[in-house]
Amino acid sequence: MEHIAILQVVIPLVLAPLCLVIPRYAWLIAFFGSLAALCCAIVILLAVLGVGDIFYVLGGWAPPWGISLHIDPLGGYILLLVTLVATLVVVWAHDSVSSEIQEDQINLFWCMFLLCLTGSLGIVATGDAFNVFVFLEIASLSTYSLIALGRDRRALMASFQYLVMGTVGATFILISIGLLYMMTGTLNMVDLASSLPELRDTTTVQAAFAFLTVGVSLKIALFPLHQWLPNAYTYAPSTVTVFLAATSTKISLYVLLRFFYTVFGSGYAFDDLNVDYILLPLSILAIFVSSMIAVFQKDLKKILAYSSVAQIGYMTLGVALANSQGLTAAIVHMFNHGLIKGGLFLAVGGLCFRIGSTSLSDLRGAGRTMPWTMGAIVLGGCALIGVPLTAGFVSKWYLIVAALEKDMWYVALAILAASIIAATYVWRIVETLYFQEGDSAGREVPVYMLLPTWLLIAMLVWLGIDTDLTIGIAERAAQSLVSP
């Protein structure tokens, strides 16, 4: 039990090379890896909520000298999201991967997938600033190669662009860590937090903060830095798209929150340096511009990708409001949006699996022959818009309350107005898939593909009605961030 924190990261790491040694059972290994990670995440979350933060020291070297793992409620929450989506994706992906990836590369695919999972979990679990960079690069490098496995040749360019942007972002984070180390002589986050307050007015720490914010924003795909995201989501194999869309940007946002609140201290970002003056307009721009672009896209995956950029805007908006309500809303939306986009991309992946294309013109009328997939898209779309009784409504509601609390009624209006644009692009999908005449004759996807999809969609409805669970954990997470 005391080793649960390290097992969370090590289990997928150990299983990844096994996929190389035993190619035939690669899928099974990936399945067990993500299932074991899910169990770990559940145990960790319960322990964190019940007993308190988990600290784990690697190699017996006490911090600040050794590397330590530190999981707080926010970390536990994100671990649950990542492992839950990973497990469902692996169950769903068995046939989808066989149809999209060359046969001799399938075991490499699952190896990369497990490495990506390791990196993602490591970023969340670690309490060491440099370790964040290392795990970030593990996750990113495996993501680049996974994206490049897409069938379309444009996947190669998408992957390359992401690689360049991602590497620049990660190197910015590295510079920031170097500057922080220069000033404090430590890499442990808790230790950093205790020595930074007296250095807060130095140019070096301010430069470190700036580099970090820009670097992480690149990985988050914050509005003007989102160029890599739509192509990467669109041309990657369906399985990769689901996992990326549901987890990667949320993990980067987690890094931002971790540094803003735990390392620099909540007052530094918003009271001293007024990051919210930049973050707030950019978030609103992200919501509006990306939603508008999404309306005019011709490819289903691209619509959802641009919608993701817009939804990231909602999350950063919650952060930029800089009150605990806004933070809670941002954290809830991280979780809810992970489930929404996970469910939607699983359904779209099902369409892609049967019809072999995600371009809207090829999908006319496809919804009528695939009613269950269609139903998932409709419900997921409702959650995306924020229709009451879905999870999307809960997070937007909290966001509006947070905005009103700060007397920012124009922000609340903007959120409402953007929902109408969201309704437009969701309706466009539904109209094409269901009401337009088409000759596509896709059969309904197999049960084990429908099951994960509908599990996520059912969770959306359930979390929209019973809000205690998500809001409760998010409030705890926000609380532990603001006053650790």
Binding site: L141, L163, V164, V168, Y181
Partner: protein, 117 residues
Amino acid sequence: MSWFSHYNYWIVIFLMMIGLYIVICRDNLARKVIGLNVFQTSVFVLFISIGAVRGATAPILAEGFTEYANPLPHVLILTAIVVGVATTSLALALIVRINEAYGTIDENQIQAKDGDG
């Protein structure tokens, strides 16, 4: 303190700007990767130079020495170099495959061939 006393930072900034300039302004993908490498190298120089202690020796215990350089930044950068190698080889592998798929590694020509900007 003269403005040139911390000349290592000037080197870092100089390399960093060259690297970023190449990444942004070159259309040839292979050159972009080289720019990325220069950019990363600048950060390596930053880390290595902050570990240096004037008059100190390599951090291996030996008689007659009392001051040692700080080994931690060097170890960190060893990790970062490995990451850099992995990034470069992955980027070059992508370029090889892009060249096979498009017959060119010029960004503008590739975008023209895909028909979207």
